[in-house]
Structures are given as structure tokens and as C-alpha cells.
Symmetry: C2
Subunit: 499 residues, 2 copies
């Protein structure tokens, strides 16, 4: 076939697969937000079937032949070639898996999610444990089919952050341990700021009114974005011009929903600002999990927890909660929202202790796949690591081993990218601050300037370039964990007067 004929076939195939992808995305959001639980079994089985249909489309031999010809064809647009290469590589990973095993795993992961939710609600790890075990065994088998020299866990790590190996993460977490654990210990003994004013009655209806103003400040536009509520906040990019985020309101703590919103809107903005030429193609997605998380954490911590951000937003918050925040100065508020203290729940953790939560998950995942840790008694292993590194102990598994959804769906190797993303973000932030007066933008309701910088240097590329290349393009140098660790040391030493 001519290149032109091949391109036509490719475009038709792109449209077809994007229809299934959209359907699965909307069904997934529906399940996580509003779907009544008694319908789970019926829906899960059919969702798995549709995933199988997408699997068949993605591994269709006829289209693979087309992709193979096109990826090396001369006279082809380089953007299009890059997309084709990515689809071709992705197909190779799937081709080796028998379709019925793929579909069975999709269904298992949905059932496992339901079991995890029930286990968490009932605070009973034993409900979830058999599913976790089955999911791990299934993942071992599925990843085992892949023609690769990498150890199993490294194959998973590579899917989330291409190029990152166990040795890289080992070095990364060793640096985190070496430089942060002593600092965390020093701060645990330092005088803590007063923050009891954050933990009183903040009616949720009023929080939502503030949130509308905050979403406008963040440029999360209802024409292309919708925020719902879930127990576990997430972002899902359904399609071109359509991003969904969720948050969770706590009646006795207003900042939880606020920072989760700033975080999720960071993810949504990344997807939304990709070059529209890539719409409906793999190129329009974020390049890696670490890069995605760098954008959400940059927004949440490096912008959202600054004096400048709150110089604009704190008076608005005070307007909604005049009695709760009476007499609380901006300075006192900032100290409270930046308080660092070892805690149990990752999603509520402060910026300094956060990477330690990830370190614990990384060590456990490594152990689960090298056979040194098993699912039986894993709640105990979890608790022991929290005691060791953070000196805290879960009262029940809902704030321990059952707190996170990720493992229920077989997402192993994903957590490490959360810490990596925080570190990427430090480097991006340094470059952004070099280019313009970020604080002035935040103080004067010009959050859009920060989003514009991210669009220009990161978002618009989507999957066009590898993460490490984007890092170099945007910051002028390759990844260096010390930028992140320097930032944390500096920020927290100042906050706690340790310098």
C-alpha cells in the first residue's frame, strides 16, 4: 500500500480506538463517582469485554502491518511518525498477551477495586488480601509474557516512567533517606506552629462557594472541565476539551479539599494544554507518570503553598469563614498549611514527609515482586515501616495498608513516580522563577501566566518528547535530585528556624 493509503487506514483506526477509549474512560469515571454498587458485577463484566474489544483493535495484525510500514516511511510528518512509533511499541507489549487473559485481568481489577473499597469501609484487610494476591500473580504472569531482559518489577517501573530503573530509584530514595530523614527528625522536636484554627467546623456548602472562586483563579473552566466529589480525588481526561477532576470535602478541615483541587487541576491543565494538533492521538497524553505528577505537585506545593498564592486567596477564604479565621493572620495561616509532621495518610501528608510515604511503598513493591514480601501479613510489614521511618502507627488498616486504591487495580511501579514528580517539579519551578516574577503573578490573580509557562515548556508537547528531554529543554539541564532536596531543606529550615 502507498503511504497515503496507509495513513488513511491509520486515521480510521485512530478514530475507532479513540471511541472505545472514550467509552472506557467515561464508564471508569462513572464507576468511581456515582455508579450504584449493586450494579458492579454486571458493569464490570461488560467493561472488561469492551476493554477486550480495544485490545483486539490495538493488536489487529492488519493495522500492525500498517504501523510498521508507516513508522519507517520517508516523507512523513515527524509528529505523526512519533505517534505511530508509540502505538507500535505499545502494541508489541500487548501482542504477547493472550486476549482472554487480558480481559480476565481487566475484570479482576474491577472486582478487586470493589473488594478494596469494601475492605477499607469495614477496616478489614482480610477482605482485600486474596484479591491483592490474585492481582499480583496475574501481573507477574502478564508481564512475564513480555520479551524483555528487565526484571518483572523494572518492566512495570518502565511503563510508568520510561528509562527509570531500579538502580535509579534506589539512588533517588537513598538520597531522600539520607537528607530528609534527619531533617524530619529535627523538625519533629522543633516547636510546631499553631494550627488548631484549621480543625474546626467549616460548613461544606460554604467551602464549595470558596471553591468556585478558587477554580476561577486556577482557570479551570466549566466549558472544558468538571469537578465532582469522591472519597479518593482523581483526574481523568475523557477526550479533547473534556477533563474531569474530583475532590473530597472535610467538614472539619477546609484545606484538604483546597490542596487536592489545586493538585488535580494541575493534572487537568497538563492534558488540556497539549497541542490541539495531537487531539485523539496518544501524543495528546502526558508523557509519563512522573511528568504528570510533577505538574500537579508543582501547582499544589510550589505554587499553591506559597505566600504569594495566598496573598490573593486568603482574603477570599476569610470572607467565607469570618468567624473561623478571625484574628488569624496570613503569616499564621501560611505556617499552618506548611506544617510538617509525620502522619499516616499519604494524601494528607505534608510536602517534607511525603516522599517517605512513597519510599515505604517502593520498598514494599520491590519486595512483593522479588518474593521477599508476601500479601499475607502485609498489613504488619506496612505498619512496621511506618514505625521505623515516621514513628507513627495506624489504628486500623483503613489508614494503613488499605488507604490507597492503586494496588487494587494492579498499578505497581506507579507510586515511585509520585516522589520523582515532586523532584522534577522543583527543577521546573527554578526555571520558571528564572523567567518571570512568579510571586507577582500569583499575588495579582495571574495564575494563567504560570500555566502559560508550563504550556510553552511542557504541556504542549504531550508525548512528543521523552520526559528527560523535556526536562532539559525546559530547565537547561538533566535531572538532579539535589534541586529538590535543597528546596525542601531550605524551605523547612526557614519555616522551623533551624538555620
Amino acid at each position: 500500500m502507498t503511504t497515503e493509503e496507509n495513513l488513511k487506514k491509520y486515521q480510521e483506526w485512530l478514530f475507532r480506538r479513540s471511541a472505545y477509549q472514550m467509552a472506557l474512560s467515561i464508564i471508569g469515571i462513572d464507576k468511581l463517582t456515582v455508579a450504584p454498587p449493586a450494579g458492579n458485577a454486571y458493569r464490570d463484566a461488560r467493561t472488561a469485554y469492551l476493554s477486550g474489544e480495544l485490545f483486539s483493535i490495538d493488536t489487529d495484525p492488519e493495522i500492525l502491518a500498517v504501523l510498521k510500514e508507516l513508522k519507517d516511511a520517508p516523507d512523513i510528518d515527524e509528529d505523526i511518525r512519533k505517534g505511530i512509533q508509540l502505538y507500535y511499541e505499545e502494541a508489541q507489549k500487548r501482542l504477547c498477551i493472550p486476549k482472554e487473559e487480558y480481559v480476565a485481568f481487566e475484570e479482576l481489577s474491577n472486582r478487586s477495586y470493589d473488594a478494596w473499597l469494601e475492605a477499607k469501609q469495614k477496616k478489614d484487610y482480610s477482605i482485600f488480601e486474596p484479591y491483592l494476591k490474585e492481582v499480583i500473580e496475574a501481573q507477574k504472569k502478564l508481564y512475564g509474557y513480555r520479551d524483555s531482559d528487565l526484571p518483572l518489577y523494572e518492566r512495570m517501573l518502565d511503563d510508568y516512567e520510561p528509562g527509570m530503573r531500579i538502580a535509579d530509584y534506589d539512588a533517588f530514595f537513598a538520597a531522600v533517606k539520607e537528607r530528609l530523614l534527619p531533617l524530619i527528625a529535627r523538625i519533629a522536636e522543633a516547636k510546631q506552629p499553631e494550627d488548631s484554627f484549621l480543625y474546626q467546623n467549616y460548613p461544606i456548602d460554604e467551602q464549595k462557594k470558596f471553591m468556585d472562586e478558587l477554580l476561577a483563579y486556577l482557570r479551570f473552566d466549566p466549558s472544558w472541565g468538571y469537578q465532582n466529589e469522591t472519597e479518593h480525588p482523581f483526574t481523568s481526561w475523557t477526550c479533547e476539551n473534556d477533563c474531569r477532576t474530583t475532590t473530597k470535602y472535610l467538614a472539619d478541615n477546609p484545606v484538604s479539599a483546597i490542596f487536592s483541587t489545586v493538585h488535580e487541576v494541575g493534572h487537568a491543565t497538563y492534558e488540556h494544554q497539549c497541542d490541539p494538533r495531537y487531539d485523539g492521538m496518544v501524543l495528546s497524553e502526558g508523557i509519563s507518570s512522573g511528568m504528570h505528577e510533577s505538574q500537579s505537585r508543582l501547582c499544589e506545593n510550589y505554587l499553591g503553598r506559597t505566600d504569594a498564592f495566598w496573598a490573593y486567596n486568603y482574603p477570599l477564604l476569610q470572607k467565607h469563614f469570618p468567624s473561623q479565621l478571625a484574628g488569624v493572620s496570613l503569616e499564621a495561616f501560611m505556617k499552618a498549611v506548611n506544617k510538617s509532621s509525620p502522619s499516616l495518610v499519604r494524601t494528607e501528608a505534608d510536602e517534607l514527609t511525603y516522599p517517605v510515604h512513597i519510599l515505604i511503598r517502593y520498598e514494599i513493591e520491590k519486595g512483593l515482586f522479588d518474593g521477599s514480601i508476601s500479601t499475607e501479613g502485609l498489613d504488619g510489614v506496612w505498619n512496621a515501616k511506618y514505625r521505623e521511618y515516621l514513628g507513627v502507627e495506624a489504628k486500623d488498616p483503613s489508614e494503613g495498608i488499605l488507604q490507597d486504591v492503586h494496588w487494587s487495580g494492579g498499578s505497581f511501579g506507579y507510586f515511585p513516580t509520585y516522589a520523582l514528580g515532586s523532584a522534577f517539579a522543583a527543577q521546573f519551578m527554578e526555571a520558571m522563577r528564572h523567567d518571570f516574577d512568579v510571586d507577582r503573578a500569583l499575588r495579582t490573580n495571574r495564575y494563567d501566566l504560570c500555566m502559560g509557562w508550563l504550556k510553552e515548556h511542557i504541556h504542549r508537547y504531550g508525548c512528543r518528547y521523552p520526559a528527560q528531554e523535556i526536562l532539559i529543554k525546559a530547565t537547561g539541564r538533566s535531572f538532579d535530585v539535589n534541586v529538590y532536596l535543597d528546596y525542601l531543606e531550605d524551605k523547612y529550615s526557614r519555616l522551623y528556624g533551624l538555620k
Copy 2:
């Protein structure tokens, strides 16, 4: 093939089609409830593609051969045979349509919905008119393919209420005109009850708290049902054990959301109470639009607007709105919620004038398909009919021609079943009251007894028997419009002291 082999193929096909049906249902609900509008074009195109996939599955020649053999096979369960017959008949209606025209219509109806929404928001019929025209032309063409002796509009009527012909509806609406128009005119001159207390500030947050109690009273269980909010309340049955309803809250009128909820939960309960043996099959759906509407209207009007219903619920409502309802007796409240007065908006119309709203739509639909009415100037035709029959005039098209969503998606022939459903309901109610003390059940928080009666006599059958047969089974006689008209005359004559 043996019957056993055919049945196996049939079961696999059922599962496959139910997966697409579920996906389309969830995508549809998502679009109507939360999907950001900027994504419409992308989603609509792909939704239409998936509808086409279902079309192909439903008209697959191999499965049609299987259905044809099975529907006349000996030794087959009669329930299964009935389902197969229904699928076979449905396939015949589709087979004659070229797939690309079917897909194009699905996309058109989605685009037309978007245009209708915009037109309604901007109160500008001219935005919607070209779409309406295109939808009508497309429907004429699609229905024209069908091998049928019936006039085009009658084919549509038959799809929504099998067996009902234009002559039947003409007779039905002639009776409505003859007996109700004079009564409506007399009531327009009678003394109206005081109802200003309904139109004051009822904070929506508080309305929602009452709604939770009402949903419990109605036995709408969150394990299988979820209520969302939309501009236009609807119910969608996603799958086994999963019904979604919506309502709309008005800050200056609490009863709008209440009665729309009772109505929609009536639809949801019908679907939910079908025999579980029919799950995932066509048999598990309501038998006809009129029958569906009979269930929602029975709940809304024949149960929900009774003294007994409110004897239990009014104290709860007063608890939530003590100042707004101070000094308003149950009797005064009942007179207010049963007030009859000609109005513009169908969904807010009272029980007595409601069928006249439908009569107007029926006359217009007949005209659109016999060529005596065109889409140009249709807003004027609409307004003239409202003046003639109800003596009211729309200030703008959002409360006139643009008020209803139905025509945007090509649903012609659907409205008449709304009035028919009210009439079916009267007959069911008479039978239910004969069987047990309904008022006592409603007063004592035993709404479940009423739902149990409906389950036993109607819901459990799903599509197993024709509507008219279910009517006879449940009430001992065939349809008689006079039961309905007698009920309305009696109720409103008493309410307005005209007897």
C-alpha cells in the same frame, strides 16, 4: 445447528450487545448530567460510532439466522422465545436502514441536542430550527425504509406504544377535549386556593436533606439507585441493579423537585422490579412508553398528591422548613399542591391541565408529518395552540416551543404516551385500591406495599406481555379512558367545590 448450539450463540450475542448498550447508556447519562460542553463534538462523533457498532451487532446476518431458527424452535422456554421474538422484530426494523445513515442520524441527534440546549439558553428558536428540520427529514427517510402499510407518524407511534393508531389517539384526545376543556374553563373562574407560601425562599441545601428522607420513604435505595441533578429530570436504567434518576431544585419552590423525584423514582422502580431472570435481556425493560409513564404518574399523582402520602411526609417537610410552613395546615398544603391553573410549562403542569399540553404536542406532531405544519414559524403555531386551549402565552420560546428536549433527538410519537400513561394509571390505581388499603399504607410509611402491588401485577413482567394484556391481567378489563376522566372530574370538582 442444534437448538443448544443456537442458544449458546444467542447468549454470547446477548452479552456482547448488552456491553454496548451499557456503554451508550452511561455515556448518555454523562452527557446529560456532567460532561463539559466543549467536548461535545468529539464525544458525539464517537458515541455515534459506538451506536453503529451496536447496530451492526443487532443486524448481524449470522445472528439473525440464529434468532429466526430459535423463535420457532420446539422445546424452548417461553420467556426466552418471547425475548428472541422481540429482538428479531426489532432487527427487521433496523435491517432496512443503511448503517451509515443510522450512524449519521445518531450523530445528528446528539448535535441537535446541543443546539437545542444552546437555543433554549439563549431563548432563540432560530438556533434550533434548522436542526429540527434536519431531524424530521432524517426521520422521514429512516422510517420510510420500513416495510409497513402504516403512515409514517403511525409507525413512530407504534414504536412507543405498540398497537396504538392515529385513530385511537384521535378518539382519546377527543374525549380529553370534550370532558376536560369545559372543566378547566370552570376551574379557571373558580376561587383558587392560597398557595403563596410555596413560592418563597426554600434553601436548596435544606431541600436536599428532606429529599434524602423522601427517597428513603420511596424505597429508592442507594445500593441500586443514584439521583443526580439536571435541568430536565430523567431516568435511565443503566443495567441490572443500577438506575439513575435526576431532579431539579428550585430555590423558590420546594414541590417541583419533590414531585419530579416521586415521578422519576416511579420509572426507576418499574425497571428495578422486573423479574431478575430477565436481566440483560430486552425482557427486562418496560413494555411500552405508555406503561412506563403510567408507573411514574401513578407514583407522582395517584400516590404522591394524596392526603395519605402527605399525612406522613408533611410533618417531615415542616421540620425542615419550620418558618416557611408555619401555620400552614396539611389541608391548606394539599389544596396548594393540587391547585389547577392553565400554565406554559408541561413539566410543571398540574394533573388536570397536563393532558392538554400533550394534546397540543400531538396535534403539532401529526401536522409535521402530514405536511400541514412546517418547522418555520413553528414557534408561532405553538403559541397559538396554547392561547386557544389554555389561554396562556409564552414570553419567550424557552417556555414555549423550546421547553422540551424530545424533538431534538427525533422522538416523535413519544409525547402521546404521556397522556395515555396517566389514563392507564387511573385504571391501575382503581385496582390497587380494590386490593388493599392504599391510604393506610401511605400514612404508615409503607410505600413498599404499593410498590409490591405494582411489582406483582406489572413490573415483574417487563416486556413479557403486551401493555394491553398486562392492563387486563392487573385490572380485569381493557383500557377505558373514562376511568381517567371520571377520576379527574371527581377529584377537581371536589377540590374546587363544583359538585
